[in-house]
């Protein structure tokens, strides 16, 4: 075997070795775990900054259908509708207002229309001390009972804010009560939670529960 044949043999052996390595990488012989399935992207509602509801002032601004707020389309002026109560003194919501769920407070004493609505002009609301307010400016109405909360709201501490913390650089947008609270049932509604952290391979949900119990 001359020198040249030996060189060729070495080169051929190297070729085989590297080809084997190529095949091994391709077939993943080192047992690297396969990549995880892609984590789905979040839907747009998750990052949406809109409030839970749209308040009346915003509906006017959006030029939405306001026929629901046109009281005198059905009611007669200067003739306040009479409220009906059942045997337990619970208000009977008339058929025409079936979409209204009465749930203001944990007791039942505040579920009376004229505590807030103005009998003499149904398109206005009235505070406890008799001030008449437009529907689009209802915050002082809520504040006439919920004083500490109004005080917090005025300080920017209760409720949603957005815009600029530095008033010198830009405006702050403070949402009124009815952007988050339905006045007829003001408890903040339950929400679907956004997806949690991906548990990856090891932490499937039953295992989490198991680990916690130890």
């Amino acid at each position: 075997m001359n020198q040249q044949d030996r060189a060729s043999a070495v080169l051929a052996a190297l070729t085989v070795a590297f080809a084997a390595l190529t095949a091994a990488f391709g077939l993943n012989l080192w047992g690297h775990t396969p990549p995880l399935p892609p984590i789905p992207l979040v839907e747009s509602w998750v990052t949406n900054t809109a409030t839970v509801r749209t308040n009346y002032a915003d509906l006017i601004r959006m030029k939405a259908d306001l026929s629901d707020f046109d009281c005198y389309g059905c009611h007669e002026k200067k003739k306040p509708p009479v409220l009906k109560f059942d045997a337990d003194h619970n208000i009977v919501v008339p058929e025409e207002h079936k979409d209204i769920v009465m749930g203001h407070g944990r007791h039942n004493r505040n579920n009376v229309c004229y505590n807030c609505h103005d009998e003499s002009n149904l398109e206005l609301v009235q505070t406890r001390d008799g001030r008449e307010l437009k529907l689009s400016e209802s915050t002082p109405l809520c504040g006439s009972c919920h004083g500490p909360t109004l005080r917090d709201w005025e300080a920017g501490v209760h409720g949603r804010t957005s815009g600029y913390w530095d008033r010198a650089l830009g405006p702050i947008d403070r949402k009124p009560c009815v952007s988050c609270h339905n006045p007829h049932a003001p408890r903040f509604p339950s929400r679907t939670p956004a997806p949690g952290p991906h548990p990856l391979r090891a932490l499937t949900r039953p295992m989490v529960a198991e680990e916690r119990s130890h």
Partner: protein, 318 residues
């Protein structure tokens, strides 16, 4: 002089060296296939896309950069981002404002654990979607306990809040006495005078000491190349803030530097449906956070006994 495709052998035979046409062709064939096999077997190396550029390698320390050098660095980052994502970003180097110290306050009474803050933060700060990097971790505690051992982060009920539980989001607490800054061997992370602890992603060596030092599990490491869909990239960027990170560096919440240092509220605050999150300049007595610290029942700070003195306060409404 023969024509190029003449049958005449261009290589003169040299019988003394033993190289003739046949052995030459055989050797080169073996050599060529050997080199091809070598190249194929080195395939894993091709995945190392993120080798450093000379400009980044020779870049000076952040605090030593002159404004002209900083402008050059920002241009380089804009070019790199545009090349990678096809979007021309607006990268700024925002300095802390005078007379400002940021404080965050979180209302435990109002938080419903909906996790919208987590994802608004991911979208605002260009965090990797796959693998997932999130700065905020929402913990669920059973009522009557604040024992970290009882906290659950993977809760997934059909609707929140669940009866019998309360929720506490934990993110970087922007400590006054930050242990993560103390352990950094290269000074790639430091506290700015407005209270935000920042990271220079070009200076970080990825040793993860800071991650180990943090008692709040607030720091995240890029174990692999982060991936962000092109249409979800936020082009409003800051050097110390939400510019895209690369593999092998730390990142964490920076109170949305790109927003808060131009006077805006952070993204997690604006998305919160209940208004449980409050943010502002604690040195301004008329700010929301000053009002909260003065008037609300503030559950001092998380892991107060660590002596880290966080600028993130948890409080109750009633």
């Amino acid at each position: 002089m023969p024509a190029p495709n003449s049958p005449v052998n261009p290589v003169p035979a040299r019988p003394d060296a033993g190289v003739n046409r046949r052995s030459f062709l055989r050797t080169s064939a073996v050599l060529a296939s050997g080199l091809a096999a070598l190249a194929a077997s080195l395939a894993p190396l091709r995945e190392l896309k993120d080798y450093t550029s000379a400009e980044r390698f020779f870049q000076k320390y952040y605090k030593e950069l002159t404004p002209e050098e900083m402008a050059k660095v920002l241009k380089r980052i804009e070019n790199e981002v545009e090349q990678q994502y096809g979007v021309r970003p607006h990268v700024r180097d925002l300095k802390p404002m005078d007379g400002v110290e940021f404080v965050y306050a979180h209302n435990l009474t109002r938080c419903i654990g909906c996790r919208k803050c987590v994802h608004a933060c991911v979208a605002e700060n260009n965090q990797s979607r796959n693998p997932e990097i999130q700065y905020i971790r929402v913990l669920r505690f059973p009522h009557g306990s604040m024992d970290m051992e009882k906290a659950e982060q993977f809760y997934a009920p059909p609707s929140v809040p669940e009866p019998g539980y309360f929720y506490m989001p934990v993110q970087c607490q922007q400590c006054k006495n930050p242990p993560c800054v103390k352990v950094c061997p290269v000074h790639a992370t430091w506290q700015e005078k407005d209270g935000i602890t920042v990271i220079d992603y070009d200076w970080c060596i990825g040793c993860r000491y800071c991650e180990a030092a943090c008692p709040y599990w607030a720091r995240r490491f890029n174990f692999t190349q982060p991936s962000i869909p092109k249409d979800r990239l936020n082009p409003n960027m800051a050097y110390l803030g939400n510019r895209p990170r690369r593999q092998g560096v730390m990142e964490k919440c920076h109170f949305c530097i790109q927003r808060t240092r131009v006077g805006r509220y952070p993204a997690c605050l604006e998305v919160c449906p209940t208004g449980a999150r409050k943010f502002g300049n604690v040195l301004d007595p008329n700010s929301e956070v000053a009002y909260i610290l003065k008037n609300k029942r503030v559950f001092i700070q998380l892991k107060e006994e660590m002596g880290t003195s966080p600028r993130f306060f948890y409080y109750f409404d009633v």
